[in-house]
Amino acid sequence: MAGALGRAEPGSSASNHSAVHSRSVHILLIEDDTEAARVLVTGLRESGYTVDHAADGREGLSRALAGKLDLIVTDRMLPHMDGLAIIQQLRRARLTTPVLVLSALGTVDDRIRGLKAGGDDYLTKPFAFAELLARIEALLRRSPSAAAESTVLRVADLEFDLLARKVTRAGEQIELTAREQKLLEFLMRREGQVVTRTMLLEGVWDLHFDPQSNLVDVHISRLRQAIDRGAERPLIHTVRGSGYVLREEEE
């Protein structure tokens, strides 16, 4: 979140989305703050999503139960029905639609409650729009491919043998620490997806707060040194205002 300026790069992100989703992705936003909701809906539509908006909990639940949705983004505190209650109702109805919880509470245990209720991710308000986009992307990608567990990850000529804990680039072995391997695995599993600093802190270090130091940047630059040094085509790219992405760039 820190310093994430949410600057969209319409060209690259639009092409990215169209490449991933063959049909239109349907998102339901449940948010009672109409002003904030309006801006979010516009932003998400610009990013290529089909967005529905519900302004209170009851309406949100009925739409969530009725429509064929790919993702639900819900506020935590809503009139008529709490965001967590909506998730519980959904899960009781055996609906596995991924849910992203937005909360203005942001305490440590509120986050735990949100995930315990069946939420798939949690974001504290205020957040950068780029952060929201990255997390939506991550949740959408996660659902279909989660079953396909492979023991070897491959991106271009970079290979990570998860069982042998061996990383090679163009056949040459690269020595990495356990934590660097975890960081690389996190990026490789999300190939082509923008991963924010906050997502990395949460996913790799299990830290759910914002340190002031540029910790993630330093670790990424070390990983870059190991993976991309001397390589013709670097794989780790910085996305200005958002985070990082690991992908093979067609030049």
Binding site: G6, P10, V39, M77, V108, D109, F209, H219
Partner: protein, 476 residues
Amino acid sequence: MREVRRWGLFNTSAFRMSMGYTLLVTLAVCVTLGSTYLLTQSIIQGDVDLILDTELRSLENQYVRSGIPGVTDEINLRIDSWGRIGAVYMLADPKFERLAGNVTNWPFDGEPAEPWPEFRIESIEPGQSSVHPVRAAVRKLPNGDWLLVGTDMSQDRRYVRTFQIATLWGIGLSILAAGIAGFSFSFRLARRVGHVTDTCVRIMSGEQGHRLPVIGTSDEFDALAASVNRVLDRLEEQTRTLRATFDSVAHDLRAPLHRLRTRMDAVLRLPALEPGIREPVESSLREVDRLQRTLATLLQIALAESGAPLASPAPVNLGELADELVELFEPVARERGLTLTGRADHGVIVEGNRQLLAQLITNLLENALKYVPSGGRIDVAVKRLAGHAHLVISDDGPGMPAEERQRAGQPFARVGQRSGLEGSGLGLSLVSAIARLHRARLTLESNDPGLRAVVTLPLSAAQAPSPASLSRSMSA
């Protein structure tokens, strides 16, 4: 709780009280039985002495009436009574040679010093011989002869001995009975007080729904449990209200900030934005992010200082966490020309919230990173010391003035705000708030040179030292 459990039952006031009671009972029994014994003995002795005195007097009268022959006759007459009542007589000349009586030799060395001398006599009867204790009285007759009258004490001695044994048994049994009663009394008391302690500990560690058992005996314990439960109900209600208020405050502060940020984000997404607009909006956005971080810190401090207990605490391996954070910060430290090292014992487990503890260590590390000049050292250590977990983060930087170090523990104390350096100065306040929330103590010491932050946390009950588990199984 662990302090109480370490010595278990023996350390309870109930035990000490009942031991005192036992001692008192023992003393009372000893005094009663002992004085009865002494009294009985002296009564028996007094009876014997009276008889002996009477006998002597009657023999002396005989001497006055009819001289030595009269006494001799009288003695010979009475000798037979040895077999029946155990009477002993002897008449001896001035040289203590026997003249008459049923004692063969003068039993003393000359004239006995004490008024009621005692000696042993061997009685020779057909078929058996036995030694008897004899209590005697001696009188010198006017002609220089010696008159001795004695009585066999074996019957009385046996009686006294029996009494003695009975007394000792009595004392022993009453000590035993008082001991058992005291032990079971203090055991029961300790168990019921233990329920109270256990419940309090569980509530303090986050199980807020927990209440004391009211058994229904309507004794003082039930009354205590009921009133403690009422207090707990009220506290829980207050905590709920506090959290609800807190949530709505957090919501009311974050919602407008969120709208502001979302709108600015939308502006930045406009196509073909002029740099004259983009730049001020971007810098305002950075300001919003900083404001949001400060707000998050303030809210967290406020929540921690409000006295609301830590929600859902769990065992956290403090050693592992410290090492992970050292690993995370090490490249950043190296980039700034600092050496960051970690020495953590991975067996140190505390009860708490992993995220908050990580935030605590992070803030202390970032504080050190901010102030220690290039070339300096920062060290993170986690160890177990005197039944507590110790987290020590030390550096060799410029340190902190003593009075500022002392203020660091106070809520919202704006310490660590050294001139020329950016920072809200809330970092250490958050550290001390998180420490308080974990029933931990934060002390800032001089590292000569530099600063040493020491956080002392209670160890998780999951790894209590062995004596505690021993007494726990005892009182279970």
